[in-house]
Subunit: 512 residues, 2 copies
């Protein structure tokens, strides 16, 4: 039997660093899922789960120097960014441990029996139980926060679901290191190591989504790869929920009043949001609606200046670099599209940031009915580039927004008078972008998705394949299903539902 | 252009009563969806929605005599059952109006800005917005409560989603009558009539699920039809959530101690649950695990007596009658299966209730590895029949449960000592059936699904295609998606999220 090696590659040179693992065979996928499945009983202990998540955070923090070094060597994201990402990751693990302790995620609801109703109501007690083994597909662009120890894994484990992670090929060594820390943390909390494990290989990922004992999946990645897995999840004899984040354009609208007031600030801020992490964020602004005229010109000049001063950067892998260069070239070649700062290949292994401009009229399809050539400008281009569309009227801006698919975020840049409710397009814009995004940002930038109870990181397809979030407190809801207990005597109820509420859980009680 | 007539048929005679409508053409489907889509703005008014739902309940109550007569003529379910079903339906509409007033379904969460965190947390305010047009596929067996004015429609309208109902061909006249009442109620509450409309025809149902402006679907019906629609929903360019209830076996386990204590009572109760509504309930017990031996024999005798005394009944349509007769015959022909009371065709238009018995060992597959012949006994058979499987040991009963697909309900019949926590199989059974059903009933019967805040009517596939419920307070969650507002100034926030909380909504606030 031949094995397929998995190499760790240095994106700064394109050279293989070391062989980290081999791709999992179908049999190994099956063994990993069965081993995870056997851990469900152990994971039912909420106290152990919380302790495990905190221990995992602790071990990751202790090993921070090694983890960051490993991740930087494979992703070139740099120690600064990776230090922040690790803090976000361990903070996330601890936040889910707190959520387990608090117990609101169980959504306990109790209806007392009411014989006076017609028909009489029996006693009903409802909470949520874990789904079973969760498959997590790690992202390229967050080797920690959306990968092995990331939000999908943390929320699934918090829910009581064992996790099998399909590692992203851009950071196999980091993934192995993180997996070993998570597994050690599990054992330290009295849980079996197999509550979390990792697999390498594209084919292994497909085997995983089709495995009968896999009960749900989380994914962050491309539209193409995500849709293939979504389709496989839906086509199973027993379909399973597939919570995928598949890409987003993240439109920004700058009102004329905002441009008049803060053109330079907005241009510089936009440059920062476009180049952060070398443009490799799911929430990078990919389309910016800027008014025509002098104020918009000033904004563009500030953007030109800031992007022109940006150093070339290294993308996560060479395939991405090729896709970026090709994607930018295809867009720039469209009639009427100009590139004030040409994005594209920098050095042999780097890319330069830049932006394209086009009139909003072309994107809105005015006079171009049937010509879909400009559709590509409404698709995500991963890397440090954005498209600035200059609009002549509010109606034109609205027409462009009306053509967009679903998004993770939409951002409005408003003037101070508009934020105070002065008449203008602001209210209409808020309403319109609410229809096409999961998060609305005013006078900020969508990059930097706070890990917080009220966060929503999702949105209409293809931003997400479900209406759930992959970041924030409610991400745990994805891995649970409700069960109602009717007239089940106290002695046989799960502790979470007993009348005496021995676990002190928050609950909603109706009647009696 | 030819039109396909839609007839109302009397199941008591098989004769056409009247032509009610024609099947919708693709163009008519498109028009209905567009008209519904245009109502989204009007439905954003929560006060109008609540008034509409209450007005609909009022008009249905006023027209009760006509509605029940129409439904009985098409379904033969009888005035008694239909009077109860109408009360359930109007109660459901009013309960969702109350839910709209209360506002907890919006799940408002507010995180105050916290600059002391690393990274600083921006202000986040999250609530839920309606998805858009909802397609509802009406059920055959509940012409009111799971059809035009039923739970899917009520919960979707409550959420703010316009509804297009694909009518079930078993009760087109009832559906038209109910639609006219709902549409009149909408207008009385100041809403456009097109917030709810109906379509007839199988092909129209397929057109509907594929329409780009349809945002979600609810379905109650067969595994085959539901899976076809689920697949179509998943295969769309933009996939949509499909909340389908596709069938359920609803296992019952009688412990030896329960049989010893209440054999006759359990046998008689089981007969009632199997024959209620002529066995046409989604939660009819279709498999009953009864211990071998004298106590189990007494239970079987009581069941034989009660079913033997049951009058033949009329099924919803002649196709169902044929499927029932064929399905029972196929099952009864299996080696080792006996029919103490033979179910099957009664008179020309009726069927007789009955039951089959088999040893649990055959269902568990003991000594029959590879022989899938008995699998059919683990599939739902719509109509007044159940399968009693006699088990020799707890392990054998557990082995049968271990082979079951997902279920809406699972029922345990326990002794009084077991309900008080005496040692025995009860705790293990509760744990096992929690894994395979959405609702666990002890010492009752699963028929009669209470409309209540803590209800859960769903379960692992094929009981449901999602982890949501179609009955109870949380059914509204299916038609909403979260949106988070980051740093959006007070003047531009939706009223639901303003700091002053002008609508008095319940909310969870973090920080500050």
């Amino acid at each position: 039997m031949t094995t397929t090696p998995v190499w760790s590659v240095d994106p700064r040179t394109g050279k293989q660093r070391e062989q980290v693992a081999v791709e999992a065979t179908p049999r190994e996928v099956d063994e990993a899922v069965r081993a995870a499945h056997a851990c469900r009983g152990a994971l039912a202990d909420a106290g152990a789960r919380a302790a495990f998540l905190r221990a995992a955070a602790g071990l990751l923090d202790e090993a921070a120097a090694h983890v960051i070094e490993a991740a930087d060597a494979e992703t070139a994201l740099g120690p600064g960014r990776l230090t922040g990402e690790l803090a976000r990751t361990t903070g996330q693990l601890r936040a889910f441990a707190d959520a387990v302790d608090e117990g609101a995620y169980l959504d306990v609801r109790i209806d007392r029996a009411d014989p006076s109703l017609s028909p009489p109501r029996p006693e009903l007690r409802r909470y949520k139980v874990p789904l079973g083994v969760v498959a997590v597909y790690a992202a390229s662009n967050f080797p920690l926060a959306f990968s092995v120890p990331g939000g999908d894994t943390a929320s699934a484990l918090a829910a009581g679901c064992p996790v099998v992670v399909k590692v992203h090929p851009d950071h196999p060594a980091t993934s192995e290191l993180c997996a070993s820390l998570l597994r050690r943390a599990a054992v330290s909390a009295g849980l079996p190591a197999d509550v979390v494990s990792v697999l390498h290989g594209f084919d292994a990922g497909l085997e995983l989504i089709r495995h009968p004992l896999v009960a749900a999946a989380g994914f962050t990645g491309s539209l193409r790869g995500g849709r293939a897995l979504f389709d496989a999840a839906a086509a199973r004899p027993v379909p399973i929920p597939f919570h995928g984040e598949l890409g987003s354009l993240n439109p920004v609208v700058v009102t004329p009043a905002a441009a008049a007031e803060r053109a330079e600030e907005i241009g510089a801020g936009l440059a920062g949001a476009v180049t952060l992490g070398v443009g490799q964020f799911c929430v990078k602004p990919g389309l910016v609606l800027v008014p025509e005229g002098a104020d918009g010109d000033r904004l563009a000049d500030a953007l030109t200046k800031a992007l022109g001063e940006t150093e070339p950067g290294v993308l996560l892998d060479h395939r991405m670099r090729e896709n970026f260069v090709t994607g930018v070239r295809e867009r720039a070649a469209l009639p009427g599209v100009t590139a004030p700062v040409t994005p594209g290949s920098g050095g042999e292994h780097t890319v330069g940031a830049g932006y394209l401009t086009v009139s909003a009229g072309r994107l809105a399809g005015d006079g171009l009915a049937g010509d879909g050539a400009y559709e590509v400008l409404l698709e995500e281009c991963f890397g440090p580039v954005t498209v600035v569309a200059r609009y002549a009227s509010q109606a034109e801006a609205a027409a462009v927004l009306g053509r967009l698919p679903g998004n993770l975020s939409a951002t409005l840049q408003l003037s101070s008078a508009e934020t105070e409710g002065a008449p203008g397009p602001a209210a209409g814009l808020i309403a319109q972008v609410t229809g096409l995004a999961g998060r609305i940002v005013v006078n900020g930038w969508p990059t930097g998705v706070a890990v917080a109870p009220a966060q929503h990181h999702g949105g209409p397809y293809p931003a997400a394949t479900s209406h759930s979030t992959s970041v924030g407190g409610t991400a745990i809801e994805r891995w649970l299903r409700p069960v109602a207990y009717q007239s089940v005597p106290e002695a046989l109820l799960p502790a979470e539902l007993r009348e005496a509420n021995p676990l002190g859980l928050p609950r909603r009680v109706t009647g009696g």
